[in-house]
């Protein structure tokens, strides 16, 4: 089994984890991790060429957190001096805004169209892009780790994540969907490899996602919807939009090519899309 180098920090008001499976050039003596003996994983030989010592990976991970801090400083509406606050106060125009800011706002408009307004970063005359920025930043972080040569890793923030390659055991990442009725429990186990996953749902003690179209709270019957897609940015936006749509949201995900979803309602019933089964982990453990 390989080593997982992982760090969790509190940022954006939530725990954020960056975890990289340490690539090894030389299998441990006595272990069965020799190439050709059946438990090599894709990229093992390539990674031998890209061997990175744990210290480098820790520095890499630290760099990812620096990036997340940059994102927070720019996009947090809770920071009066952030770029988004400047824009919302009318002190900065969009033409003068940074490239990242313009990109995010443009992406926000696109996703608003694709979801018929159910995902909308503009509310009450202000722009609050944090719902979109989280997935966007996670996706960018995954790109940075790929560019640095990492092939097996995940980046996760508040339950949304991008998982790449395989875990330290050489298997697809084991993902648990939390039980909204009992947060210590898992109600579904998935096998995820090269996918983005996001879950939108209510706080255990209340509702925190407003329905952008009607302006009111979301359907109280729906507790959570988990969306799986190629990229966490899209999965995050579609999960948010689908949750705002209430019971119809799972149908929206079902119709979206390349995305699957799992919705849990107040009756402890789960409704899932036609292709969701391919992600369910049936391996014994």
């Amino acid at each position: 089994m390989l080593k997982l180098i992982s760090e969790t920090r509190l940022m954006w008001d939530m725990p954020i984890t960056v975890a990289v499976v340490e690539p090894t050039a030389f299998p441990e003596t006595g272990s069965s991790a020799q190439p050709g003996e059946g438990n090599e994983y894709p990229g093992a030989l390539q990674q031998a060429e890209l061997r990175q010592a744990p210290k480098n990976i820790e520095a890499l991970i630290s760099g990812i957190f620096d990036y997340f801090q940059y994102v927070d400083d720019k996009f947090s509406t809770f920071k009066p001096l952030s770029e988004i606050s400047m824009i919302n106060q009318g002190l900065l125009s969009l033409e003068e805004a940074s490239l990242d800011m313009q990109s995010v706002i443009a992406l926000g408009e696109e996703i608003r169209q694709e979801t018929n307004g159910y995902f909308n970063i503009a509310r009450h005359g202000r722009i609050d892009p944090l719902g979109l920025v989280k997935g966007w930043a996670l996706s960018n972080a995954a790109d940075k780790l790929r560019e640095a040569g990492c092939e097996n890793f995940y980046v996760e923030a508040g339950g949304d994540f991008q998982a790449v390659g395989l875990n330290a055991e050489g298997q697809p990442w084991r993902v648990g969907i939390r039980n909204p009725f009992n947060i210590g429990e898992i109600v579904k186990v998935l096998a995820i490899c090269d996918r983005g996953v996001a879950t939108s749902g209510t706080y255990i003690r209340g509702q925190h996602i407003d329905n952008p179209v009607s302006g009111g709270p979301t359907d109280p019957e729906i507790l959570s919807i988990t969306v799986i897609g190629p990229d966490v940015y899209e999965a995050d936006c579609y999960a948010t939009a689908a949750f705002a749509m209430g019971r119809a949201g799972i149908g929206f995900i079902d119709a979206l090519e390349g995305f699957e979803g799992y919705m849990i309602d107040i009756n402890k019933t789960a409704t899932y899309t036609r292709g969701f089964e391919r992600y369910v982990n049936h391996a014994s453990h």
């Binding site: 939530m14 722009i127 994540f161 996953v197 749509m245 789960a270």
Partner: protein
């Protein structure tokens, strides 16, 4: 084809900027937000079906509006359709709606695309969806996804995560 009125008319200038910056709806959205609150709608149907990346050039809107009788702020009410413009691999045609002399709607007329972006929101049961009763499963997982925790549960989760990270 540039309209001579563009320079004088801030709305038209805004529309041109809307496209020239290459960021879909960026300027317009902000303009709309500042001037119309959330009443202005911008319907942008991406013809390729993929999220556009920053820097994608979108050609200028040719409104062909050279109205003779203008409203007090320069626009004649009506709906104006621009020409079809080739933008890399997409075909874009824009329709602008003026109401009360103000730009109230800009619509990209949709062309056939691969991803279905106009999914009908149907609240009736979809027989193709599958249902099951949720059941507790093994908690031996690498990553957990779920509804956002309360601050208290969040602290507990963080503690657990940190102790795992150390171990």
């Amino acid at each position: 084809m540039r309209n001579a009125n563009n320079k004088k008319n801030p709305i038209k200038r805004g529309i041109k900027k809307f496209f020239y910056t290459g960021f879909v709806a960026s300027t317009f959205v902000l303009y709309a937000l500042q001037n119309h609150g959330t009443n202005a709608t911008v319907n942008v149907l991406n013809t390729s079906g993929a999220l556009s990346k920053p820097g994608t050039a979108v050609a200028a809107l040719n409104t062909t509006t050279t109205s003779s009788t203008l409203a007090s702020n320069g626009y004649k009410d009506g709906t104006y359709t621009g020409p079809v413009v080739n933008v890399r691999l997409w075909y874009v045609q824009v329709q602008a709606t003026i109401q009360g002399g103000q730009l109230t709607n800009v619509q990209f007329l949709q062309y056939p695309n691969e991803r279905n972006t106009s999914v009908r929101i149907n609240s009736s049961a979809n027989p193709q969806l599958i249902q099951e009763a949720i059941q507790a499963q093994s908690a031996n997982v690498n990553i957990i996804t779920g509804a956002t925790l309360t601050s208290q549960g969040f602290q507990q989760s963080l503690q657990a995560a940190l102790s795992q990270a150390k171990g």
